[in-house]
Assembly symmetry: C2
């Protein structure tokens, strides 16, 4: 949606949802394969391994933005995200839960945490996200979190699809996702209200929409790299994780 | 090559060449298709368009490093790279020549310069390169330029292959590459001598080797993204350049 007219708060929310409908990674073929049970265990491992890089950088992203926020009120709000991801004790929080997911699909925790075997494209996309939040306006940085508006849908689809289609995946392995179903809407409600209030000019509103498009690109590019390396043509770049051969569905 | 022993200057050069032999993008399937005449015009356009993003960021990369170099001698040496890429007058220099290449394969210059249609993965990889040169040690930043040790080989293969295999590509369109055959060896001779002199400890030598691996990843990831979007499965991400359908080889 390209416009230089002023949007009402509702129109801005609508334009954001339209971007999600077109560009959110729920539409990526890799996710369809993942949720539909069409990936082998090694391919699911590659996904979990690379996604851990993204998950573990989210607190860095949030702390980078937190450091730029001007009021205690805003910082307290954003600090909740750090608590969600880093937890209050060892083994708690989203990053630790994602590590459990990676272990649940058969990866070694130390290997996952080392970053060895990552697709370089994953790292580049994740770094681009942190840099965006560091270098752009606070408004754009907040707006780039708005993919969370769409995450309950993908989580519901993912959890039900993966449990139905892979008998080696248990609800416990997917425990990462359960708290996200309440955290993400709470966070995106705040972020949406923030951008509705602070994007006052057409230029600011366009910057908000562009920030969400950028974030969708960050997520999409990660799946493109996984698809290229592990599905079709299935050529992991030099140094990247190579799954142990095992029959699909095994 | 993983070692914690001290390498002689020759052994260090050998270890660097070994990385090139394994990881330089001359081995990527996209390059084999490109040089072998197996791509359609739209696919070559996608390559030229995305590679322009890389080429046009090289002066930013070099200026970022230049700003960190401690002596006039080093800065003068590195400044030659800026002259090579930005030229001395409008229409001269490597960036302008790459734009001519893009126009020669049928792209609009303004479109190419706008960055519209770029694969996000291209941008992420290029930004990662500039960030590396900004954030790492000067030794690592210099070492990351050492892919130029391998570029005469790929250029010779590319120019002869593309001229032989695409009748719509002329020597004039590929004029970018001619000066690179002398510039790149001159620059890489300097950079190699620099790292041989300054990487004195096993740790520094390992950092140099890792920097070259990183740079190979930057180049490889760009071709992975092109291959995914435009060859197999041929799914450009939302918003990316979509070639006009035309029969292969046309």
């Amino acid at each position: 949606m390209l416009t230089t007219t002023q949007l009402s708060p509702d129109e801005l929310a609508g334009a954001l949802r339209e971007i999600g409908a077109e560009r959110y990674h729920i539409h990526h073929p890799f996710h369809r394969l993942l949720h539909g049970g069409q990936l082998g265990r090694g391919q699911v491992q590659a996904w979990a391994l690379n996604r851990y890089c993204y998950q573990s950088a989210i607190p860095a992203k949030d702390a980078t933005l937190l450091a730029r926020l001007p009021t205690s009120e805003l910082r307290r709000e954003w600090r909740r995200r750090l608590v969600d991801h880093d937890g209050d004790a060892p083994g708690t929080g989203g990053v630790a839960r994602w590590l459990k997911l990676a272990q649940g699909v058969g990866l070694d925790a130390e290997y996952v945490q080392s970053g060895a075997g990552l697709l370089p494209a994953t790292r580049f996309a994740v770094e681009a996200y942190v840099a965006f939040v560091r270098d752009r306006s606070i408004l754009e940085a907040v707006a780039s979190s708005l993919t969370e508006m769409f995450s309950p849908g993908i989580i519901a689809e993912r959890v039900s699809g993966m449990l139905a289609n892979y008998d080696w995946i248990t609800p416990d392995t997917l425990a990462y996702f359960t708290p996200r179903l309440t955290q993400a809407p709470r966070d995106s409600d705040f972020a949406l209200a923030y951008v509705q209030e602070h994007a006052r000019t057409p230029e600011q509103q366009q910057a908000v929409l562009a920030a969400l498009r950028f974030k969708c690109d960050v997520l999409w590019a990660q799946l493109d790299a996984l698809h290229h390396a592990y599905v079709s043509p299935g050529l992991p770049p030099p140094g990247a994780f190579v799954p142990t051969p095992r029959k699909p569905g095994a």
